[in-house]
């Protein structure tokens, strides 16, 4: 991906260089050739040329069309992670990055990833806007409180790369930096097995699920007051108002914090709201747990079947 971005960049450099030098060259050339030779000289009346005007309107227009499509193409690729990704959760807060691997490993300001594998970061903020930026991979995205955003990348070379916060977030914005550590597959496995004393993220979520008494209503059979959660991740959910929404991370998050926003058809709106009761990280654990209740095939679906479709009731 970085290569594609750079290719466009260098093309634009060439186009800019060409036009910049052309204009500068013409100005300098005219400056010398048509310099005023005696004090009362005036310039010649030159008739405007319609063809010329059209020409130098249409030509730049065509060039910009090329650039637009090129850039759009790259952007589409950036917005559509492949089906199989290694998912890692990121929570930004003033002024640090908290990273959670699904196996329970946590990191602060460092993200270890294996080389050659597509990695998808699902991110949110606890407070203000931040931006998770990896210049070497040419990716970044704002990290927004109350919402999940995502980026994906596939690292091609082991090494250490800068991680920056790229949305001004207050006092220690310049200090909210870190490293992306790309390791080859074997080293990564070694590193991974050294962490996670508390078990995987999903198992933490399972514990929380019991502690918060979610399991009293969300039973594995259909006798509970709440919908069965096994197998729902990634599939559409029928709502009371007739709409169907995909059960992705954003949906699960909202259903925990504000359950009355989207009530599943056939159920009463009796679920209590957990806003203010669970932290962002606990939310991620719960979500991972619910994900783990779906089969691997179901889990492999992209979190949002169409990330670009507007979802009911959401702004962009």
């Amino acid at each position: 991906m970085a290569g594609r971005v750079d290719a466009l960049y260098f093309f634009l450099l060439a186009v800019s260089g060409f036009f910049g030098l052309l204009i500068a060259g013409l100005v300098v050339y005219f400056a010398i050739k048509y310099r005023r030779r005696h004090p009362n000289a005036v310039g010649a009346q030159v008739a405007g040329g319609m063809m010329l005007e059209i020409g130098w309107t249409v030509l730049p227009f065509l060039i910009t069309l090329i650039i637009f499509f090129w850039g759009a193409n790259i952007y589409f690729a950036m917005s559509r992670p492949p089906d199989e990704t290694l998912n890692i959760y990121v929570v930004g807060k003033q002024w640090m990055w908290k990273i959670q691997h699904t196996d329970g490993t946590r990191e602060i300001n460092e993200l270890h990833v294996p080389v050659g594998r597509a990695v998808r970061l699902i991110m949110t903020s606890e407070d203000v806007l931040h931006d998770f930026s990896i210049p070497a991979f040419r990716v970044k995205a704002d990290v927004i409180p109350g919402r999940y955003t995502q980026i994906w990348f596939e690292a091609t070379k082991p090494g250490r790369y800068h991680l920056f916060c790229a949305e001004y977030c207050g006092t220690r914005h310049s200090g909210m930096t870190g490293q992306i550590v790309v390791m080859d597959a074997a080293d990564y496995q070694t590193w991974l097995s050294g962490g996670a004393p508390e078990g995987s993220l999903a198992s933490a979520g399972e514990k929380l699920f019991a502690e918060l008494a979610c399991n009293t209503c969300h039973r594995p059979d259909s006798r509970g007051r709440g919908p069965v959660l096994a197998g729902i991740f990634g599939r559409p959910v029928q709502l009371q108002n007739g709409e169907a929404v995909p059960a992705d991370e954003q949906y699960l998050r909202e259903s925990i914090l504000q359950p009355s926003a989207k009530v599943t058809a056939g159920y009463q709106p009796v679920m209590p709201a957990f806003q203010g009761i669970v932290t962002e990280e606990q939310l991620l654990a719960l979500i991972e747990y619910v994900k783990s209740l779906s089969t691997p095939q179901q889990q492999a679906l992209p979190a949002r079947p169409d990330p670009t479709a507007p979802r009911p009731g959401e702004t962009r």
Binding site: S260, A273, E314
Partner: protein, 223 residues
């Protein structure tokens, strides 16, 4: 139809940089129209925020809107439309050069404006007592506790800005009333009255949008 006739010698109201009263009047009215355009954009920003959140939180908005006093709101709407009528009559009085009628109708407009503001103040007081002012003392049914605050925030900001515009309009009308009482206007020169008329009608139109959008959500017979 207004008539601006040129009088020999300079009319006392003619400013030095204009050629004639007609040019001056046209400039003044064009200026007010441009200003009203800025006001459309100003309120437009607030209406945009309203539209976005109403779309997002429709149910909460319906419930919250029902907490507003639709009787008082309707009375206020009638009062304001009435004040637009008296304002139009004031402008007409100015066109025919009737100093007495200008004064009467301006006073009526001001009075109606004040009635509107008084009723608004009463509504605000009710909201305060019912703990519907967003912030630390806000109370509302749990289901819509969050989004209702956005509704009421919009209610106070939009009606508050509207009320502020009315206050400014009333102050300007008082000035023009004073000018009228000193005989400043005639059939030849009455453009200040015309211009405040435009402004006042605009303020009325903003309310005509605010009223249904804030008070009448989901009230068309269906609960």
């Amino acid at each position: 139809m207004r008539e601006h006739t040129l009088t020999p010698g300079s009319h006392p109201a003619l400013a030095h940089h204009f050629d004639n009263l007609e040019q001056q009047a046209e400039a003044a009215t064009l200026g007010m129209w441009v200003f009203l355009l800025t006001e459309v954009l100003f309120f437009g920003g607030a209406f945009l925020v309203y539209t976005v959140y109403r779309h997002m939180y429709h149910d909460a908005f319906v419930v919250a809107s029902h907490e507003l006093d639709v009787v008082l709101g309707t009375i206020n709407t009638a009062v304001l439309i009435g004040s637009s009528l008296t304002m139009a009559l004031a402008v007409h009085a100015a066109q025919v050069g009737s100093k007495r009628l200008i004064q009467i109708f301006l006073i009526l407009t001001i009075v109606l404006g004040c009635v509107f503001l008084g009723i608004k103040a009463t509504e605000y007081l009710h909201k305060f007592h019912e703990h519907h002012v967003p912030g630390p003392v806000f109370q509302f049914e749990a289901k819509y506790f969050r989004e209702a605050q956005i509704f009421f925030s919009l209610y106070f900001v939009m009606t508050g800005l509207h009320a502020l515009h009315m206050v400014i309009g009333i102050v300007v009308m008082l000035v023009i009333l004073w000018q009228a009482s000193r005989g400043a206007f005639s059939a030849e020169y009455f453009v200040p009255v015309e211009v405040i008329g435009l402004y006042w009608h605009f303020v009325d139109i903003v309310w005509i949008f605010l009223f249904p959008l804030l008070y009448l959500i989901g009230r068309h017979g269906v609960a």
